[in-house]
Symmetry: C2
Subunit: 141 residues, 2 copies
Amino acid sequence: MIEGVILTPLKKICGDKGSVFHGIKSSDKGYAGFGEAYFSTVNYGDIKSWRKHKKMTLNLIVPVGEIKFVLYDSRISGKSRGRTFSVIIGDGNYCRLTIPPQVWMAFEGVGKGLNLLLDVANFEHDPEEEERAEIEEFPYE
Amino acid sequence: MIEGVILTPLKKICGDKGSVFHGIKSSDKGYAGFGEAYFSTVNYGDIKSWRKHKKMTLNLIVPVGEIKFVLYDSRISGKSRGRTFSVIIGDGNYCRLTIPPQVWMAFEGVGKGLNLLLDVANFEHDPEEEERAEIEEFPYE
């Protein structure tokens, strides 16, 4: 595993009229403060290429569909430098993926229908603190 | 409108590979702190009956489907005492609905597919601070 990355299994509680899906609590491991919650979707087979945040911790939850995340650690002073990690979360594996700052992340739509991602981030979106890279730049497996 | 209730139009930003849907930022009007983010679903035609929180402010977003919310103000010392408010939010009307503590709320699945609700609440779920009531107890229109 990459240092600082946390994969937390979450509960879905089914009821007669609908369900409740856990997301994140302020007392949960990996919670890093609140700046913004926003959704992203990614089409089946499409890859949203590498991005890295300078100071933002991401807490990612896929309530609908399935999304593959690939992470790459380029941090100079880390035990997991050069390591990759990939996981599919969503319908079949309902988990929260916590990604610390400075770790590269790309993601791909795996479900054939809607693939919906919620990010609960500890800062508001700021293009200045985000870096992007083409998919060829790091190993995407 | 009921005192303290806020309906905020939100943006959906479409891209080639998917979209980004705004949710809530810590600088937004209606943001009351972070305790927990969780999802609920409600089946088409089903009503999840009245509930009222003693101290929790709800920030509700419907990224998938359509949900009707009906609110009832039973606060003794309010300008909108006895007033109801209803709104459908989701696919056709992408908004955030902020509900202050002490206002009754019931909701109903309007979309025929998945109706998904995100609540960004300022406290963690606590059954002690929630009251429930049968649908007949207040005017549901």
